[in-house]
Symmetry: C2
Subunit: 249 residues, 2 copies
């Protein structure tokens, strides 16, 4: 069914009491979900967890073992609530070490405004890979990667810039998507969707009631990696719905 190349899977772990308390709007998972989707990576889980080292460690360890890629966002910096690096090191039972190159850069950039605590930004789990980017994305501030875990900061503009430094690593075959708008509700069309879901196991079929829409009641989505298979599934659903189809996209 065109699924010979399995999509890489990913988990996103957002670390931050500020998101759980509703003080800041969650933008990082939203950004990563969209970017990874464009790259053909299937995000299978998003977790938003507090700044608690044990929770970060257990969450990262489980995600690293379950998914191909893990992205953490937040908890990177010199203050008491920046515990991500130490927690990831603990998750994999390695010590935290200070990277000499990053430490030298911090000293060079800080000049007279240098604070000893800023050097904590040079701490990495022992054995981490430091990704500096290439060409236009090259930066003197690396992204820290440990095994399949990429450690990103919590400030959205910085996270987005850092992601450009690593994104080329994750390119996978793209998804193909179709959409059908139905003027009948879910109860009336469920049997058509059931059959299509059974006939096309490689196509993810979603059904979303749009209670506020004027011209349709349900949006049906079809996604897969094989464009021809997605098209056949789409045609079957559209035929099954008959006059209930408002439009196909």
């Amino acid at each position: 069914m065109g699924e010979s190349t399995r999509a890489p899977t990913a988990a996103i772990i957002v670390i931050g009491d500020e998101v759980l308390s509703g003080k800041v709007e969650e933008l990082n998972a939203r950004f990563l979900v969209r970017e990874l989707r464009k790259l053909g990576v299937a995000v299978r889980r998003v977790e938003i967890i507090p700044d608690v080292p044990e929770e970060i460690a257990s969450c990262v360890r489980a995600a690293s073992a379950t998914y191909d890629l893990v992205f953490t966002a937040g908890g990177i910096g010199p203050t008491h609530d920046d515990v991500t690096i130490a927690s990831i090191a603990a998750a994999f039972s390695v010590p935290v070490v200070r990277d000499a190159e990053v430490a030298a850069t911090i000293r060079a950039v800080s000049g007279e405004r240098f604070f000893e605590r800023d050097l904590r930004m040079a701490d990495v789990p022992a054995g981490a890979e430091l990704v500096y980017g290439d060409g236009a994305t090259r930066s003197r501030w690396p992204v820290v990667a440990f095994r399949n875990v990429y450690v990103l900061p919590g400030v959205p503009t910085i996270l987005q810039r850092k992601f450009t430094m690593i994104r080329d690593r994750f390119a996978a075959p793209p998804f193909f998507s179709r959409a059908i708008y139905s003027r009948e509700g879910e109860g009336a069309i469920a049997h058509v969707l059931d059959k299509a879901a059974a006939d096309f196991p490689s196509v993810a079929i979603g059904s979303y009631p749009h209670v506020d829409a004027m011209d349709h009641k349900v949006l049906i989505t079809l996604d897969g990696r094989d464009e021809a298979v997605v098209s056949r599934a789409c045609a079957q659903v559209a035929a099954g719905l008959g006059p209930a189809v408002v439009r196909v996209e």
Copy 2:
């Protein structure tokens, strides 16, 4: 330290491939985080997971055992991807049963537009509590609760209406919050925050760099249930920061 009444804790489990694929914006966790916060409930975890029964079941079971309250959003309806009820029943090893009152309401409301599949909306885990609301919030469509798990729909406007039917159950002592804006960066102020975090264990102290702000570099937040303790912690941090304080809120 005024923490004699521990805050109730909560987890939010968002069920839906459509969120993980970036097709729909996540609004339900955001809404619930804010509403629960206003009620004094501490949200300790948000998970966004796919429409996979085993994942829903294990996630709900773990959250139900760990947190005081669990809210699920999504996967309620008559179509093939609506697997939340069956998954919650599986999580607690109880069968799914059809509630006669809800089934009768579905038949009565549907009239000629009745579809057998719509009756799936009357299915509940055996032993579930059906919450119909009181007074102004009373509805003929109940919220299904099983033990400490509240089952909410994925359509944001409906979820928000349903939450009003149950919100009075969760009222707890409120949080008190203060904020300090610092013109010094995190490296310069970290020692002040470390000391306050140690001196006031009942106060959650957060530190957030605002890279795009004109008049400050870091927002420091202080939250706790005892207003006097939060004020003392705030005063200590402000004194420690001295001329770095832009303003206190």
